[in-house]
Symmetry: D2
Subunit: 134 residues, 4 copies
């Protein structure tokens, strides 16, 4: 298993008139967690894409337990619990500074060849880097 | 069962550099479908909130089948398939102009008292309007 | 001069915890006004881009007079007051249903060749369509 | 004069299909710069708002010189060049890691009483903290 924790601060733009983070914005928070998890593994999503492999999202599941508030310093905990195949799954949990679990969710992405937009195998360099965690 | 179809056009802002609608933006599209479904039932979410009842989201599930593209005229099909209790569930399907199913998902919301932010019953006026569909 | 009026409804996602539309979201509203103005002229921004010409924004100016609220049905009034050269300017005004002027602004865009990302002339088909208004 | 530099990384969600940061998203980047400038002065925008004073935006001006790209680590340089009165102006410049100036702009905000939404004076604690810079 691989785990990475990342912090970010809630922007005013991300709140709504209920005074909490809008429910759709967690998809962005998960994206930040995912990208930093890959970076911690020695990979850059940007370079992977420049190298011809994209990772469109196939599935998103989200549960909202407590609201995140403006200016909260959130921690996004990102886990990869299984060896990726043609798909990769990220498990995310979002905590506030009091360590309350606010949101948890799952994002499943598919490796896709950038030129023909068809599913492809996990890049070998990726497997190499992540292999030691499983 | 209650069904409502709503249209919206994809904005440039909603695309990402993969050239498709960013995965997090469907939460907004579902919101539009939800609000127009309520309006078609003779209810305004704005008035409900002004009347002291809020509907925070409790759960979101999304599956991405095909991408939506810039300037696509999308149809959001919104279904309420069960009588709401302390919760209400909306089932959404998003189609493009060729009638391809692009995305489908589920949003579960909880009726909450605006002053104490605790779960509350469905407003009676709401039940009355939706009752005839079940 | 060319004028086009377009309507859109404020989404919950677009509000912030001040209970009004977040100031950055007017850029999206202006984009909607701009795209619909082009469509009314018989042009599609999507086709222009597919044809190899992009229109990145060079300048944005915005004044906020009154707030737009959740669920407001806004009218975006978009004006082209000068014949475009290598640049094109759109003047926007946003009104609510009481016809209050909420926001006004200016967006200046540059015609750019998609392949080399360098400034280019206005496409001839564009000039032809817009010419009769000046 | 007061200056504060803040960093942030471009999110995938913030790009558009031109492959660059969408023009409207700089308003959020400026907000981040502004909030961190206030924090560096010993003030929290969150506390100011909880204390009954809001800061809605009155004017925004933005010039786009070069595009910001996905995953760029940007620096937002925020300057307050004049003592605030009923208004406060923030001057922002955005740089990438090669120190290219990408965007510059100005945001003017108005101090407003939260309860009656009318313009009010700068809070005394604010003037005290910022006073030494002018």
């Amino acid at each position: 298993m691989f785990v990475k924790r990342t912090s970010l601060r809630v922007r005013y733009a991300e709140t709504d008139q209920m005074g909490v983070v809008y429910y759709g914005n967690y998809a962005q928070y998960f994206e930040v967690g995912r990208v930093e998890a890959l970076r911690a593994l020695g990979m850059s999503y940007r370079e992977m894409e420049e190298g011809g492999v994209m990772l469109p999202v196939h599935k998103l599941e989200l549960q909202y337990l407590k609201p995140a508030l403006y200016d909260d310093l959130l921690t996004i905990e990102t886990r990869i619990t299984e060896m990726p195949s043609t798909r990769i799954r990220f498990h995310h949990e979002v905590f506030n500074e009091s360590n309350d679990l606010l949101t948890k969710g799952l994002v499943e992405l598919v490796f896709v060849n950038r030129s023909n937009r068809r599913p492809c195998r996990v890049p070998a360099s990726f497997l190499e880097k992540i292999g030691s965690y499983f």
